[in-house]
Symmetry: C2
Subunit: 316 residues, 2 copies
């Protein structure tokens, strides 16, 4: 699947993943009204609105980008109907040949972590049948519980030729509270921030889990666009890890900040934008599209983002 991601990035010339993180505030009124008329002002109604909204965006951008990243929390907030809309979105995107990175940030231990791994990337044996739950292509994983929590994912990744992105340095303002702590007895100077230690683990896990061909591992990392300097260090520390980079656009990351996340081959990173694309029509810059043109506004925002990244990479 990492190979497919790379091929699609090369074909689209867009190392971009569209974050499908819908909230009802983003969904145009006419879509909400239609959904509420059919299903009432219920969780089912909200889920239907989100699904129709997603479908419009996916149809408008699927030829431009290699991948989408639905954020499961945004669906989980609507309970079971919301999660059914998540699953419908995943399936629809796979039908459009998009790589699906499910932003689930799961993390647990042993058999529990295994349950998440088989639920999202693999399948379970039910009597004589093998059944798949969510069946995404990649998931994000939280490393706080240590390698007991990661290894069950690695096993499933190897079997399914799928991948994970481990949270290393997240894009949010308070990510440093734990991740930047200086750890004693590590590194050349006898101290090292925690995120570098996680980065080293990612590199070690990744070296064990390589596909048969290519330079990139099944094990990637999440590093926020808002921390370009840390991105540079981590890029060197994890040479075989694809880096999933959130925080571009709405969170403050710019094209010029991104160059450090890429390797010399122009690969090695994929930049996420969520609100900046899916709710582009709510920005002044794309207001001309209006509410009914929300999908076209998303397409325009993708084209602008592609240009921004390309020019940043050219001028490095």
């Amino acid at each position: 699947m990492i190979q497919k991601l790379i091929r699609k990035i090369q074909k689209t010339n867009a190392p971009i993943v569209v974050g499908l993180d819908p909230t009802l505030k983003f969904v145009p009124e006419y879509i909400k009204q239609a959904a509420f008329e059919e299903y009432g002002e219920t969780l089912e109604g909200a889920a239907e609105a989100v699904w129709q909204y997603n479908k419009g965006i996916v149809d408008a951008v699927c030829d431009l980008v290699p991948a989408v990243k639905p954020q499961i929390a945004m669906y989980e907030q609507f309970g079971i109907p919301g999660l059914a809309a998540f699953k419908k979105t995943v399936d629809y995107c796979k039908g459009k040949d998009l790589v699906v990175i499910a932003d689930v940030k799961r993390g647990d231990i042993g058999s529990t972590s295994e349950a998440y791994a088989v639920g999202h990337l693999g399948g379970v044996q039910v009597g004589s049948k093998f059944c798949r739950g969510f069946d995404e292509d990649f998931v994000t994983v939280n490393p706080y519980l240590g390698s007991d929590g990661i290894k069950p994912f690695l096993k499933v990744c190897a079997e399914e030729k799928k991948g994970i992105f481990v949270l290393v340095k997240t894009s949010n303002p308070s990510s440093g509270e734990l991740q930047d702590r200086l750890v004693k007895g590590a590194g050349e100077n006898g101290e090292r921030p925690l995120y570098e230690i996680v980065g080293e683990q990612v590199a070690a896990w990744g070296a064990e889990y390589m596909p048969e061909e290519g330079n990139y591992s099944y094990v990637g990392a999440v590093v926020g666009a808002t921390y370009p300097e840390q991105g540079r260090i981590l890029r060197e520390l994890m040479p075989r890890a694809f880096i999933l980079v959130p925080g571009y656009g709405a969170q403050g990351g710019k094209g010029a900040d991104l160059v450090h996340f890429f390797r010399e081959d122009g690969l090695g990173a994929i930049i996420n934008s969520s609100r900046g694309i899916i709710a582009a029509y709510q920005q002044e810059k794309y207001a001309r599209f209006g509410e009914r043109g929300y999908a076209d506004a998303a397409r325009a925002a993708v084209l602008d983002m592609r240009e921004d990244i390309a020019s940043a990479l050219e001028s490095r």
Copy 2:
């Protein structure tokens, strides 16, 4: 809700939470067969088997314990039907007046963390209606992303008078890979393990989020029974935090290890057992109950666990 938990612990004299972490390996054959006959060897069939199995256990133990802790991963592995069985289990347990601690270990940032918080503890506005997704009483939360990830939960906890348990020191063998790292420039000796820093944050968050009455905060902590010495230190560091203690039984924690997690008032901790109770009939000790007596075996295991904890607390 923390008050309700305390009242129920006092009433049952059992600081015990039953981990409803079903896998198909635990579910008796006759339950699986009935479910597969009705729904086929499908995710729906697996979910039905798990639900029937849970129901038997809950009926057998609900008068003995204050709380249950369904582990959502074990349901998520069966996709949407599995999560529907999770929701059914949550509702059924609430109907039996049990406190429901959902072991979801979610953790994200900003609006995403808020989505998890409202999805699991609160509700969302859908048009003119307020709708609740999962509506559990407590959830477990991962702190790796810092306070941006925790604060949205705290806000919802205060509104709903519900609570969270923050992962501080987990019970698994590799929990130390990150959690035990010695952090520079913290604590009296200029260094301190990471879990203590998280424990301090829990204490600080907890001091802000106290219910109107009582000594315990809406903000609790997870500390594994397998690390009793760390439990003692963390107990002092977080005086107002209830500690959720996994790792008893199957993972190796014993009654005598648990005393450090309790405060002088005999409160302040609730001990989880999952496999040790729900799959008791598969142990030699309870084999006499047989497969069809799995629920009675669970009840016997709860009684033994209650005794083990009480005698450990008495002899301290």
